[in-house]
Symmetry: C3
Subunit: 136 residues, 3 copies
């Protein structure tokens, strides 16, 4: 399944947890894996806490590790090398278990689409796989 | 399945390879995928070599890229912004193949729970999925 | 399935997209997940754009965040601490959906084996799992 997301800023963390949970519910899979992956090379997937200050801290960190302009070669072609580089650090996919028909999330865990070159219309893939039960 | 881990330091790499391997064995799945994921927002999953000096190098790197205190906004709420930020860089999950009933690990690969805000009692999810055999 | 890759430089991004796509085709799985994982502790998996300048930018970034020599403890044992540390930042696995028998990749997405300590003969695992169709 694909989630459609419209971002509104150049760099933005969009909480997509409830949309992912809805896909898990629709799948009717009791136990398994949920893979969340981006179809873009200037965006990533993050699982962390949704707290306003922390979200700003994450964006500050990415800006400090990968400054917006630093003589990147890719900027001669397309002025978004920083967006690609930040996406490389974040990674393109995360997996989570499905248990008793629900996404197995810790108390503070939320799933974010990490927009690094918005605003744009974006796509996130949510893929559900069923596990067998086994002896424990 | 959930592994319970008691960490003993604020920042610590705990080798959980043998516990993950035991879950793979119990599953009796001959071929498939093993997803290892943390339920926490101040911890990550790393697959790398278990060598004492290297583990210290990894912790030094995280400390250099994300210093413990750097005027983070989240620290006004809860004094562990660095732990969250390091977790974002490490990622919350890794997947490995299962082959011939065993975790497919390279010679030097070990699985670590990367504690970034301990000591605490922690949970790691280990989820096993069976693959079909196909023509090769 | 295992891909065999011969790298030719110490640090190199090898585009393995077509080999991974061939494994997806051979599996004959219509819908599912493709897990790409390295068996090495001095290499990672990246999904991003294959553009010459950008690949150099990625290698420059890794060199800036993790300099080749910086008094690492692991270098006393084996002179490749930087390779391990860069691998930790990149991560050892990525997952992608399979849809209608093909790898579900965005327009610019390519899969790279990120060699951090070559030249060497390397192995990448490609594991395919079938998903059930469900009501949408």
């Amino acid at each position: 399944m694909q989630l459609k997301i419209d971002t509104s800023k150049r760099v933005e963390l969009v909480d997509i947890t409830s949309q992912v949970q809805e896909e898990v519910r629709k799948s009717e899979i009791p136990e398994g894996i949920c893979l969340i992956s981006t179809r873009h090379t200037t965006a990533g997937i993050i699982i962390n806490e949704n707290e306003t200050g922390l979200k700003d801290d994450i964006m500050d960190l990415l800006n400090r590790l990968v400054p917006a302009s630093a003589g990147y070669r890719h900027d001669l072609l397309d002025n978004n090398a920083d967006s690609h580089l930040r996406a490389v650090l974040l990674g393109a996919s995360e997996g989570l278990p499905v248990s008793e028909g629900k996404l197995e999330l810790g108390t503070w865990q939320r799933i974010f689409f990490a927009e690094m070159d918005g605003p744009r219309s974006r796509t996130v893939n949510v893929t559900l796989l069923r596990a067998e039960r086994y002896k424990e």
